[in-house]
Every structure is written in structure tokens, then in C-alpha cells.
Subunit: 781 residues, 2 copies
């Protein structure tokens, strides 16, 4: 048997092509005859189209067609929310609305031309009259009685009101020796994948099949939606998510109007058509997240032990509900790693006239962790306790799993943590940040008028959820092992990881194994790459399909070699009897016999035809990854500048399949989280007009801003799948806003600054210091 | 449970579209941008290309490219014989030979142009110089010592020499009380599918996939060959055999140079390219069959019981060996339904400079049956016994199965008949032809100078052989049952038959079931539609996959309905508890839950994701269908004209899945056999130049020539598969030449004519009568 590959620190197979510039992204696909598409988008946050005239645009040489929403009524069917709720007041999101528009950037027409340049020129020739309607630019405005409506004629702007509760929070808060309350706010931010969204399509009349290349994270979901909207058989739609994708980060897991329009137009025109979102379009039309307001109240005893948490969440759903996953996740993430006997969470998700929100890496968790971790620090400050000690006293202990939180998971089942060791993560982070000496240094420097701060954040992250993911394994007639996943990678290294897992299941060297992903024509069922779910769902499926295939291969070899399967094992690609390479058959020979048949006439007795296995793995419930971050920062109270002196990440995603790739995930996620913590804001004005539509106005974090990080892993294998895997894609993103905000407030505590908004920008720090001064002044006066 | 569908006499689902002119054959595929291809073919039976100049052709407006074999050296790799033998002296058959050409019609260059008209015009502008070489126009010439060689420089024209033997025929013949010998000959004939061969291809650079539409009977075989020749991954080749095909009949089960050239050119030019064989091309380049010479000697006792058979077969392999299946089948078919204690069969397969031969419906069996059945009549005549009685005395009896013939099947295993009742078939045919009264009528009319003849032919037909065939069944998200076969139908009604079989396995009405066939992208493994094998191999696979799916569906329904699977059954498309339609889930609901997941998050416990099942069925060995034909004819000794007064077919193909379709197969096969018996001859002259290249020169049988037939079925289920199915596609074709020849010689027995060649044409009858006269005259003189 070759060495185990699960757990091996291997560079990505993808690296060679990606690092040498040979990655092929959607715009690089060899579609030389494809027409280019450009979308006309609403310049208004809320408006009604009163006249549409594209005659001049159509007359432009090189323009092949112009379609308004009204020209394509057959596909104006609602794009269903991905995660539903019976109480959701869903307002239909149409691919390209023919009448009313609900956010700046909403597509209302498409130009198809010989080049993108011509298409964009033609956009300017389209004459649209709009009746501008009042717009809603915040959740506060949305919930203001008598204020404007996001959707004209709707009864209110509320999408859904939901509650989560355990025990009796009201009573517990009333009886608590101490209570504290605060209002927290996180700004909108986006996914900002390096490659934006893109769709290309070609209809082949000879097969009746529409092939769609889509940078989606969920090709099977896209196919299912298109099958319903187009009323086409699912097999007549082939959705391919190209293996090289410049990131997904959540927004590409959703399904958009452009994905409906482009293939339909390609079919109608019988020409290949391609649309690649440009960066400005990405700013105004790719879904965003984060934007939430939390009014939280905590009750606790003299030792700092939590008695109750009450949180009222206003969630900005944007113009439509693409799914309730984000606010649902927030509600179930609030308690985090702590034992909270009484919980009362109220969600008010409402519509606004801004681009819809959906999951962005972290997906509702950073907001909840921000709230809870900020309050842990407040409790410590209130009681004069050490913030690490307050956390210690409240953490769920390693021997308490499976741990029932007391509230519900978003499928209605009891929220149950499978495994973990939160105290060990916290202590590991404290030790590595040099907690005790940092506190001493903080005290020493304060005397010099310098403001050091230490911020902690511990979190729990639901991941690896169902319903299932699958894999097929086939031995090709040329003797290669082909592993086929439905899942479409977003840069996580699927070609590497799943070859590792398959290698262990097969007992074969990875070199014989190829991995293919994200193509609905290759495997009929799949869900998609989101929610840090693939390793824990697809991993076990690959492992099981590989073990099945090993049995098939050894059985086949045993028949051909005239021995028992237990006497056969692989040496390289040779199945040998008792280790003897002279008494062997190769993978290719096995495939030739089982797939083709001996002499094309018979199959030797005992051999099953067709070396293909399939497995779908469906976890009983979500697994829970966890982590502890610790930040040591210095804040300049004059400028509000933050210097991160040290950052420690403790991370537990269960079994680590490939440490190198998990490190990459965690560190990449951390960079994203750092953006949310300190830089990124998708600012809209009060009229819901986006103010940041380029990187001149949106401070996307770059590698220059990312400090060195000390990362350590703990492995608490999940009992929910045979690999013990959880998810690693989002954990790095979740706690940085909390850790940084805690560190900043900790640094500035002598000055009384209160940090309640993320990102924690210099301007906000200065504002907080000015506000603190005025409070101090008031107190003095 | 709905009524059983297996055994139901149902019209074809395909009929509606086919009978209303909406069938879509390869040339009807919607490929409006496809370029047309035309092949330049050798005008010589044997020649060497000494100069090739296509400059004038290339200059013709509308001509896109001209490629000679030398221009495409990268694909000039041998097309492997389909059925091999270690002793075969295989001469490499190249897709488009660059140097030496070996038969009239062999492709040597291809023109690609905007239309077929232009392409054909350009063919005439290609300037080729040939060195004409001596050609071999018959097996006799091929085997003549010192004669010309088919392949220059080869050591001989022999492809293979093989023997089959049981007991000791030489000794038995020496000791036999009676021996008779004769030389028989069957002419070349073709498949003559209504739709000739055709290939179209398009390369999609964005996927790297080459899609190939091919009228092949074996799409997976074509893909495997192309994968090896092109050195492309098998998944980068998608071979689709369109579901509407104008017949296959064997020649389309082979793999031809045109199938290699067209896709390659499409990939090279990055344009769709289509080639449809025209009728003249079909005459000179589609493979043929039949052409064999048999020198047979039989030994028998006074009662007409066979003691020994010796047969020396000269088989005309044509210019290349596309596979040894035909002569192999002939050797194992000679003994037929009779007990032959001593057998000695010698096969001399040799090359000739004519289009290669391979299987044509019947595939080597008509020749063997002709030989054996003619000799049964000769034995009867020699001993003055009734021909039916001689057969009765020699037939294998119904209680003797499994019956070991004593010789070998072509995979090297002992030839073993699985089941049957040959005496019952014979008696049934005798009864229906009115044998006794026909004999009386024959005697009566002879007195009037009219010549009635009765011909019998009993046969056994190996069919339903391995190595395997498979099926997948999937429930689509819209709740349809999709049955996917690798096999490509040739008009047999697969969409109907496999829906019937699946319906019984599923316990569902056929109306919910769709069948798709012959597409390598839909199912990875398959063999093809030939050798009357699909019902006996694919049928059990469909049945098993359907039963698996029934279990999956009932299990899933039981989870959703909260009951045990045994309480659930289907009423229409509703899985109901205890027959209550109010307590039910629909197929679509089942699919939505198992394929997509509830709320897109979880899969209820106990439900396995992805409603797809697969099954591959591999029979232990071939099954044996059988039949007895009886013909009553009148022959006009002046003109040689034959009138078929009555024709009876007794047919046993095991379990009959759909009697209407089996009747169609048997009667269609009979028409083909009638052509071989009385009309069709692919005449070549002594220089191997084809003389019949249109239907003006080739008497293809039409419906006008086909007499009414009385058909009866016997069902001896095969124990080799769970359906008991055998094959029905070729049985009708096998015995007519024997039955008609026997009837003609029986009619003319008073005049002493000897019938030894098929087809039995008026000219041959007159020749035979003249020869008989001269014998009589000699005797008199």
C-alpha cells in the first residue's frame, strides 16, 4: 500500500498551470465565434420603466439583437429563494424585470453584438424613460412606519420576522445581577472574487442541448432552475462550471437573471453568446452581505457567567430575497462557543432598494460573533475581570459534546455541536499571543501614552451540511482512474484533495488518478460549493466510491489471475498476486476486460462489467468547526490608525486532509475577515444609490495589509462522517472583525472609546474618541 | 400494480413520428453550418498511388480543404478487427491509405466544401496517377498457388486457417454405409439499410470535446477506437447514434475509415463537417457478406441418421479482415439442430480485392444452414425417405438441453444450446404448410407437368451473447423515469420495449417512462446492437435497474409517509400508503426530496440521495434461438420462375417481450432472407471490379416480392437470463435460402436439376435444368 495521502502536506496539482499563467477562466474559453453581451442596468434605486426604445441601438452596425425584459416574457419567471421559510414574504425576483426596477444595477435589457465594445456603445443608444420612485436605503428606513415601499403596492418592507429562543430570556434578564446592552452594526461588503461572474452558452440544434459555461458555485442548482424556467428536460441543459475559477466566496452560489438571459438568447439566436461581468457591474449587481444591526442585551452573574442573551437583528435583505440562509445562520450563531441558558433572538429581515444580499464567505456568522465577542469584553470590563477569564468561565467544555445549544438549526432540527475543544483553542491562542506578557506590555506602554490592545474572539461555525454530495469513480479504458464530482471548485484544490482521498480509498498512488468537477453532464446530482460543506460531504462520497472500486478491481484481478482477492494488491498500477509483479494485471488490462470484454464476446465468470462506482454521502446534520483568534494591536489615538503587531489563529476543522491547503483557506479567509474588520464598506447613500462602485472608493484588502499570522490546528474529528472532516473555507473570515474591534476598544479603554461598528476604520476610531471625550466632558461638566 | 407489460402486443412509441415523416435521420440533424464531405475512392481493385495533385480542386470556390491519406498520417492507424483470433494474419486496414489501395471504393482522399455538390465537383478535379496491380476476384483465385497477391509483398492471401472437430469424421465417413458430397456457393450480398452510413462531427474548443453523430450500431465501440487512434481521452469524445436510424443490419456495426476521417477533419478545421454515404458509395464501400464456398461430405446410415459431416469452407474476407465473426459463426452453425457425432470443419478465410466482408443480418448462419439443410434433402432423396422424416430422426430432442454440440463457440468455450424444442417447431411448420396434402398435390400436379416443391429448413441461431450490456435508470427532478441504454436501436423499437421491461420492474405505468439510447455521454460502457444480443443482455439490465429503482422509490416514499416500504405501492405516479391516494407522494416529490433535498439543506434520515440506479448484465454464454421454415413453391421449368404458394415460419426466441415487434423482426428478416434466396447478388468480375453498383443491377427485394407468411411462435425461455429472452433480429433471415432451394430442387427432382447456389435465380434454374438434361443425355447416350 502506498503511504496514506489523507493528511499529507501536498502542493496543489492546479498550481503548475495557475502559477504559470495557463489557467483558463471563463473569458479564456475558446469560443472565438461567440457574440458578446452587455446589460443595460437600472440607474435608479427604484423606478418604473415608462418607455423603452432600442431602435437606434439595433441599427448600430455589429449589433445583432437587443432584448428588453418585455421582449423575453417567456423567461420572466421568479428566481426562487435558495433557502426558504414558510413565513417568508417573497417578492418575485425576475431575470430582467419588464416594468418596475428595485435597485441600481438591476438588469433591464441586454445587447448582443459582435464585440463587447460595440455592445457597450449600443447600451448608450437605448432610450429609456423612467418614473423614479422613492427608494429605501437602509433597514431603519425600511422599518420606518409610513416610509416608502421597496416594492410598490406591497404591504410592508418586512421579508420575514422570526424568533429563536431557549429558556426564558426576558425573565432571566429581569432577574440578572448585571445586564449590559449595545447596538452593533456591520456594513455591507461583497465577495470580490478576482474573476467576476460570467456566463457563456451555445445551443447545439443537432442534439437540442444547450451548453452553459457558468462561473457558478452550483452548476446543478443552476441547471435545475433553468430546467424549470425554460421548461426544458434537465438533460438538455449542460451546465459546466469551468475548473479554473477566480474565486466564488458566496455570491456565485446564488442564481442570477443574467444566467437565465444569456443561454436563452444563445438558443434563440443560435449563436454562442458570452457575458463577463465587469468590475463596475460586479459592484452593483453581484450579491453582497454583512449589513445587519444588532440590539443586544446580556445578563450575567458576578463571576461573569452568562445568564441570558437577547438580540434583535435587523437584516438588510436588499431588493429581493435570494434566500434566508444568512439571517438564519446569524440567529443560530449568536450563542457561539458559550453556554447560554436563556436566549431570545428576534430577526427582522427587510427589503431595501439595494442589491440583494446573500451569503458571502462567513455568511451571517461574522456579525453574530462580533456581537457576542464584543459583549464578552464588555462583561469583563464591567466586572473588572480579564476578558480571557470571562470566556473560560462560559465556554462549552470538551467533554460536553454532542452539545445541544437549545435553539434550532435552520432546517428546524435542534442545533447540536458535534465535537470540538474550545478551551484548548482559547488557551492555545493565549499562549501563542503571549497573553500575560502582552498585558504587562500594555500596562507599561500606557504609561508612555501608547495604546496596545489585545482582542480575542472564539467562534463556532456550522459547516459540512447536507443534503448530500456525491462522486463517481470510473476506470477508463486506458487505465486511468477518473474521479467525478458534482461540486465545482473555487480554487480550493479539488483536483488535489479528492485525488488524495481517492488514493487512500483505492490503495493506489495518486499519480493514476484524475479528478473532474462541476459538469452536470458527468454526474446527475449535486448541490454545490458553499457553506464550507464539500470536504465533509463529497469527501466521504469519494472515499466510499474509491473503496467500492478497490473491491471491484481486486475481485476482477483475482478472476484473471486465478487467485482469491485477498491475495491481490497493487504495486504501482499492477495488481499483483502475493506482491509478485510477474503475476499481475495492469489497471489498463483490468479496464479492457471489465469494460470491453475479452475478445469482445465474453466476460470471464465472476467479473462485473463496467468499472464504475458511485456514492452519495448525506450527513445526519451539520458539523461544527471552531476557532479562537487573538490580536495584539497598537492604536494611534491621533489618527485612528491600527497596527496589528501579532495575530494568532487557532483553528479546528476536524480531520485535515491537506494541511497546506487548509492553511491557505484559513489565511485567505483571514484576509477577507480583515477587510470586513478594518477596510471594506459598500457605502450607499440615503436614496440607496451606491457610492462605492470601484476600488477607488472601496478599500479592498490587499496582501500589503495582511500581517503575519501564527496559525495552529487542533483536530476534533467530526463523528458525523467517516473522514471526520468539517469545513475550512470560512473559519478564517468569521472572527477578525470581533478580534480587531475587541483589541481596538481594549487599547483605547483608558480613553473610553466604544467600538460598535465594523469595519473599524481610522475615521470611526477618531469619531469614537471624540464621542468619548464629549461623554467625559459631560461627566466633568 | 399495472398489468404486466412484458409480453404485451403494443405498437411502437416510435411509430407516430416515423409514420408521419417526422423521423430525424442523420442527414436531417440541425447542423446548418456544417461543411459537406465527399470521398475520392479507388477506381481500381488493386493499385498504388504514384502521384496525387489536388491543387485544382483546392482552388475551386467553395472548397475549404482537400486531404489525401498522406495529409492525415497522424490518423493512419490500423482499424482493429472486431473479433480476433491468434492465428489471424491481419493486414492493417488504414482509414484512408496513403499508398496502396485494395478494392474499388476504398477512400483515398476527402474534399470538404460548402456543399456536397461542390465537394463532388472538386473530386473530379483531383489528379491521381495509379500503378494498377493485378487483382484477386474470388476465393478460388485467392487460393490459387502462384496467383496474384491481394496485398503486395504479402506471403499469401490466406487470412486464417481454422478447424472445428468432434469425434473422428474421417474414420466415420470411411465407415459410413452411405456418403454424399456436394459443393455449395452463396453470392455476396449487402445490408442495404434504407439510410446509408453517415457521420457528422463538431469540435467544441471550449470543452475540448468532439461530438460525433454516427449511424453506427456501436457508439461505444466507435468511441473506444477513436480514443485510441486520436489519442484522446474517451470523455473528450461523445459518439451519438441518433435514435432514428434507417436500419443497420450488420454493416453499421463495423468501424470504417470515414468514421475516423470526418471527426478529425471537423476538429482540424474547427467547423462542423457532415458526410452521408450515397447509394453508389454504399455499394462499393459498406461491408458485405455471404460469399462462401462449401465442399461438404456427409455420412449416414440406412435410416438417414447422420454419422459424420465434413465441410471445407472458403470464406471471402474481402480486402481486409474487419473481424472473424462471420466465418467463426459459420463453422459453429453447420451442425444446426441435428445430432452429429463426428464433425470436421475446415475454414479457409482468404483475402480478395473486394470490399471487406463482415456481419450482415444472419451473419454466417444462412450459408451453414443452406449446406446442412440441402444435404438433409439429399440424404432423403438418396434413401428414398421423406425429407421431414429424415430431419425428425436427426433432431436434438426437447429433453436434451443443455445440449453440447461437441465443437467450440468462437470464444473457445464448448458450444452449448440452452433450450428449445426443435421437433415441435418442425411439426408446427409441417402442420401449417399442410405437408401431407401438399405432397399429395405435388404428386397430382406432376402428372399435369406442373412442378410443386416443398422445402424445409430448421436452424439454430446463437444470439444474446456477451460480454455485457447495461442500463441506467434515473428519476429526473421533474418526476420522469429516464431509462438510459448504451445500445443504439436500429428500428427495433427500443423506446417501446425497454419502457415495457422497465415498467414491469418498477411496477409503474409505461407512460411515466422515457428511454434514451446510443449516446456515450449518457452511459460510459456498452457494446452495441448486433448479433441479436440486446434483448437478452440489455433487457435483464433494464429489469434489474428498474427493480432496484422500485426499492429506492418505495423506501424513499416510506420515509416521507412514515410507514414501512411494504405498505407503499404506486397508483399512477403516486406512491400511496395502503392504496390511499390521500396518503401519498408523487414521483416528482420523491425526486425533489431525494435529488435536491428538503429546503436544500437536509435529506430526511433513511433517504439515499440521487435517484439513479445502474445495472450491467453479462450472460454466462450465448443463448440459442431456433426455428423451422417451410416453403411450398411452384417452379416453371421453361422460365425458371418460382412462385411461392405458401410460406410458414415457426420461431422460438424464448420469452417474447412484444409479439408485435417480434413479428416485425421475423417478417423483416424473412424479406431479407428471401432476397438472399432468390434475388440479391453483388456481382464482381474476375478482376474484382464490382458489376452491381445501383439497384438497376442489384435486385433488392421489395415488398412486392414478399409473399404472405404464416408465422407461429414457440417460447422456450432461456435459462441464461432472468427474462428468458433470446434474440429475434436475425432468425427470419437465416433459413429462407435453404428452404427455397430445397423447395426448388424438390419441385424439379423429376427433371434431375441440382440446386447448389444461392440466390436461386431463374437463370440458375434454367442452367441447372440444362445441366440435368446433359447428364440425362449422357446417361442415355
Amino acid at each position: 500500500m502506498p503511504d496514506p495521502m489523507i493528511g499529507a502536506r501536498l502542493p496543489r496539482r492546479e498550481d503548475q498551470r495557475l502559477l504559470t499563467g495557463r489557467g483558463r477562466y471563463l473569458d479564456d474559453l475558446d469560443l472565438p465565434d461567440a457574440l458578446a453581451a452587455a446589460f443595460l442596468r437600472s440607474p435608479h434605486a427604484h423606478a418604473r420603466i415608462t418607455a423603452f426604445d432600442a431602435s437606434e441601438a439595433r441599427a448600430l452596425p455589429g449589433v445583432v439583437a437587443v432584448f428588453s425584459g418585455a421582449d423575453l416574457m417567456e423567461i420572466q419567471k421568479p428566481l426562487a429563494p435558495k433557502v426558504q421559510h414558510p413565513k417568508l414574504r417573497d417578492y418575485p425576483r425576475l431575470p430582467m424585470p419588464p416594468e418596475e426596477l428595485h435597485y441600481v444595477g438591476e438588469p433591464l435589457a441586454v445587447v448582443i453584438a459582435e464585440s463587447r465594445y460595440l455592445a457597450e456603445d449600443a447600451l448608450e443608444l437605448i432610450d429609456v424613460d423612467y418614473e423614479v420612485l422613492p427608494a429605501v436605503g437602509s433597514t431603519a428606513a425600511a422599518l420606518r412606519p409610513g416610509g416608502p415601499l421597496v416594492h410598490s403596492g406591497d404591504e410592508s418592507n418586512v421579508a420575514v420576522l422570526l424568533t429563536q429562543s431557549a429558556g426564558n430570556a426576558k425573565e432571566a434578564l429581569g432577574a440578572a445581577p448585571h445586564t449590559l446592552s449595545e447596538e452593533f452594526y456591520q456594513m455591507r461588503g461583497g465577495g470580490h472574487s478576482m474573476e467576476p461572474r460570467a456566463v457563456a452558452a451555445r445551443f447545439e440544434p443537432a442534439t437540442g442541448q444547450l451548453t452553459i459555461w457558468d462561473t457558478t458555485q452550483s452548476p446543478h442548482y443552476a441547471r435545475q432552475q433553468l430546467s424549470m424556467i425554460y421548461e426544458m428536460a434537465e438533460d438538455d441543459l449542460r451546465v459546466i462550471a469551468p475548473p479554473d475559477v477566480g474565486g466564488g466566496f458566496g455570491p456565485k452560489a446564488q442564481f442570477y437573471g443574467e444566467e437565465v438571459v444569456i443561454p436563452w438568447v444563445a438558443k434563440r439566436l443560435r449563436r454562442a453568446v458570452k457575458w463577463v461581468e465587469d468590475r463596475q457591474e460586479n459592484f452593483v449587481s453581484a450579491m453582497m452581505e454583512r449589513s445587519q444591526t444588532h440590539r443586544v442585551e446580556v445578563g450575567f452573574d458576578d463571576d461573569g457567567r452568562l445568564l441570558a442573551v437577547k438580540d434583535v437583528i435587523e437584516h438588510d435583505q436588499g431588493a429581493y430575497c435570494a434566500g434566508l440562509q444568512v439571517p438564519s445562520i446569524t440567529t443560530s450563531t449568536v450563542p457561539g462557543p458559550y453556554k447560554v441558558p436563556n436566549i431570545d433572538i428576534e430577526l427582522r429581515a427587510c427589503y431595501t432598494n439595494m442589491v440583494p444580499t446573500s451569503s458571502v464567505r462567513g455568511a451571517g456568522r461574522p456579525q453574530a460573533v462580533f456581537v457576542m465577542e464584543r459583549m464578552m469584553d464588555r462583561i469583563a470590563a464591567h466586572l473588572g475581570l480579564d476578558p480571557a477569564e470571562v470566556r473560560r468561565r462560559n465556554l462549552i467544555q470538551a467533554d460536553e459534546f454532542p452539545y445541544q445549544v437549545g435553539i434550532m438549526f435552520r432546517d428546524g432540527s435542534p442545533l447540536t455541536y458535534d465535537s470540538g475543544d474550545f478551551p484548548a483553542l482559547l488557551e492555545g491562542a493565549l499562549e501563542r499571543i503571549g497573553y500575560a506578557s502582552a498585558r504587562a506590555e500594555q500596562a507599561r506602554l500606557r504609561e508612555e501614552g501608547r495604546y496596545l490592545g489585545i482582542g480575542l474572539a472564539v467562534y463556532v461555525e456550522g459547516c459540512g451540511l447536507g443534503p448530500y454530495e456525491g462522486a463517481k469513480i470510473r476506470v477508463t479504458n486506458r487505465g486511468r482512474i477518473l474521479v467525478t464530482l458534482a461540486a465545482a471548485g473555487q480554487g480550493q484544490g479539488y483536483e488535489t484533495i479528492y485525488a488524495q482521498i481517492a488514493a487512500d480509498g483505492l490503495g493506489l498512488d495518486m499519480g493514476y488518478i484524475d479528478v473532474t468537477t462541476g459538469d452536470t453532464a458527468r454526474i446527475p446530482f449535486g448541490q454545490g460549493t458553499f457553506a464550507s460543506r464539500i470536504t465533509a460531504t463529497c469527501g466521504p462520497a469519494v472515499f466510499d466510491a474509491a473503496k467500492q472500486m478497490r473491491t471491484r478491481l481486486l475481485d476482477t484481478a483475482a478472476v484473471l489471475l486465478g487467485c482469491s482477492p485477498s491475495e491481490v494488491d497493487f504495486d504501482g498500477d499492477l495488481a499483483c498476486v502475493g506482491g509478485d509483479r510477474e503475476k499481475s494485471v495492469s489497471l489498463q488490462q483490468l479496464a479492457q476486460v471489465a469494460n470491453i470484454g475479452k475478445h469482445g464476446i465474453t466476460l470471464p465468470r465472476g467479473i462485473t462489467a463496467g468499472l464504475e462506482t458511485a456514492s452519495y454521502f448525506s450527513p445526519e446534520r451539520a458539523a461544527y468547526a471552531s476557532g479562537a483568534h487573538a490580536a495584539l494591536v497598537e492604536v494611534d489615538p491621533e489618527t485612528g490608525g491600527i497596527t496589528i503587531l501579532k495575530y494568532v489563529i487557532g483553528h479546528d476543522c476536524g480531520t485535515v486532509i491537506n494541511p497546506l491547503l487548509v492553511d491557505g483557506q484559513v489565511l485567505g479567509g483571514f484576509a477577507h475577515g480583515l477587510g470586513n474588520a478594518m477596510y471594506e464598506e459598500a457605502v450607499y447613500d440615503g436614496e440607496a444609490t451606491p457610492q462605492a462602485t470601484s476600488y477607488l472608493d472601496y478599500a479592498l484588502v490587499s496582501s500589503a495589509e495582511v500581517p503575519p499570522v501564527e496559525l495552529f490546528h487542533l483536530e476534533s474529528p467530526s463523528p458525523l462522517n467517516p473522514l471526520g472532516a468539517k469545513g475550512a473555507g470560512e473559519g478564517g473570515t468569521v472572527p477578525p472583525p470581533a478580534a480587531i474591534a475587541n483589541a481596538v476598544e481594549d487599547a483605547l479603554r483608558p480613553l473610553g472609546a466604544r467600538v460598535t461598528r465594523a469595519p473599524v476604520t481610522p475615521a470611526r476610531i477618531v469619531d469614537a474618541l471624540l464621542a468619548a471625550d464629549s461623554v467625559t466632558e459631560k461627566k466633568v461638566s
